[in-house]
Symmetry: C2
Subunit: 334 residues, 2 copies
């Protein structure tokens, strides 16, 4: 049976919503969960859950890393922090994956430290799904490496392709370089160099430069970029989606006729847009390039988001994403 | 009377929609327009216009720079291109400003070459308005300089502040550094260095790092960043706004009840969102740091967008934006 470690102490709504979501996820996705954190608090929450009969185990962790702490130093200082205990469970083979909603930097540093890097990968990267009108696309790197060398784009492209292919069943997914113009030669010196390297790299299906709209119009399945640009792309997308929802609400509230109509469309809107865009259903970010499956859920995750993060982790584990990385990345290096 | 040169040959809908918009703008904003391009085509369009009695002059330009051409070489090779004639009109004092909807790079290069840089400004930058639920904010640089040194952020901040203050009547507008985290020290090496410089620069009202959502929630009036990041920010915002509109449409069409409601909210949505977000009402981008007012409208501008571009140009000319740059930028350098 697949076992997934859940850091119950990280995230804005920890531990309540995390434990709730972990048990719900264990029931829904039929996995075993290791609930990492303060045993007394976790057991109390388990006792209240309708899913208390799932396969779970509580693993004690005496410390917690807060959102504001510096990742590298905090994971070293707080050896018994919940995120460290969780990633160690994967490193030691007690679990195949981890789900964490706390400090992203700390989760990353902890995963790299305790799970180790896939051979051939210099810098693990964060992959995030963004929605289109149909199938989502993947952005790599979405924030792990703020400063990048153009060469790193090759590994991002390779890891993104392997992951996308495994999760969505798409052979040879199209990879675009996120840029500010379509033609080769556009962009900054980083993207001009990156373009040349990607163009010559046979292990991926490179389709050239892509702008934001091309990704949202499904010209490619994977967008690669440095982690700074990827994070700007991700956060701008979220911010504009929220702005549009708010404007929509204001528009609907602006007149009696519109208001009457608004009530009718509300449910339709909610079911399509809100869930797609506001990330609760995408399951969270995945740290690619470490030896174990690591899903980093949004800091504001509630139970439903954790349920979906477990679903994503289970799917990736079933598809042997990590093993595929280990064999295919090495092939690509040869 | 204020005179504005309009490049009638640049843009996806040139010359028809450009000439239409220029005459409409001349009537609406009471300015004189110089219509730059092929006289016979322009005169034919003028003859059809309900605004043919406005104050206008046709200025011949025998060449056109296409969207795909390399900016620097094309403006040198095609001396008589419409964009060159238009910016020369400003350089020679025949007009105070120029409106162009063609090749952005060419417009920029041509404006710098023929109008000259404001003393103290090393690299002119593009400023773009983005909407919030109330007053828009400004992004500088939105794409003129793909590769930047951190020092350039100071001039972007200064120019953005002066422009925002002049156009929106806000004293000492708040300036944020567009970044991927709030705390000082977040981001890439460029933003870490830029933060330190901005923090010590007394000539602006620096409020620290801002993420996309902070700008959309009005934590600052001006966001500064390198031109690559600014362009990603801008294009992602546009792409997501369009995606959301499409999702909204799909949601509204997804069921009979929703459809009935959708018809009722449609007009409300159109009046608030579409016009605000789809850039027709913001007038376009402004090239800051050149000696003359230069509005670069979207390539897909139709008459209504050109009307608004003229409105923005007129307002900036009335507020003496260029003169303010010339005096205040120098003060800031002392």
């Amino acid at each position: 049976m697949i076992t997934i470690a859940v850091d119950c102490m990280g995230g804005d709504y920890a531990p309540d919503e995390i434990v709730k979501g972990a048990l719900w996820g264990a029931a829904e996705h039929r996995v075993k969960v290791l609930l990492i954190g303060q045993p007394s608090r976790i057991e109390a929450l388990v006792a209240e859950s309708p899913y208390r009969h799932v396969d779970y185990e509580v693993v004690e962790a005496t410390e917690v890393i807060d959102m504001g702490e510096t990742p590298a130093s905090s994971i070293r200082k707080k050896k018994d922090a919940s995120i460290n205990v969780a990633t160690r469970c994967v490193g030691e083979g007690r679990a195949q994956g981890v789900v964490a909603a706390g400090n992203t930097g700390a989760a990353m540093a902890s995963a790299i430290f305790n799970m180790g890097r896939v051979k051939g990968i210099d810098r693990p990267a964060i992959a995030v799904h963004l929605p289109t009108v149909s199938r989502p696309f993947l952005v790599v790197d979405a924030g792990a490496n703020a400063d990048c060398l153009p060469e790193m784009l090759l590994q991002f492209a390779r890891m993104g392709s392997i992951f996308y292919s495994a999760i969505h069943g798409v052979d040879n997914p199209r990879v675009g370089l996120l840029n500010i113009g379509e033609e080769p030669g556009k962009g900054n010196t980083f993207s001009v160099s990156g373009y040349k390297l990607l163009e010559e790299y046979d292990e991926i299906n490179f389709v050239g430069n892509v702008e934001a709209r091309h990704m949202y119009e499904q010209h490619a399945e994977v967008a690669v970029c440095d982690g700074f640009t990827g994070n700007i792309f991700l956060k701008t997308s979220e911010a504009v989606a929220l702005l549009m929802l708010r404007m929509m609400k204001d528009a609907v509230n602006s007149g009696i006729r519109a208001r009457a109509g608004g009530l009718l469309v509300k449910s339709a809107l909610k079911s399509t847009i809100v869930k797609k865009v506001v990330d609760e259903e995408t399951g969270g970010a995945i740290l690619l390039g470490v030896k174990g499956l690591c899903v980093i859920a949004h800091g504001n995750s509630k139970a439903y988001a954790i349920l979906n993060a477990l679903g994503l982790a289970k799917q990736a584990i079933e598809q042997n994403v990590v093993e595929q990385m280990e064999t295919k990345v090495l092939e690509g290096c040869m």
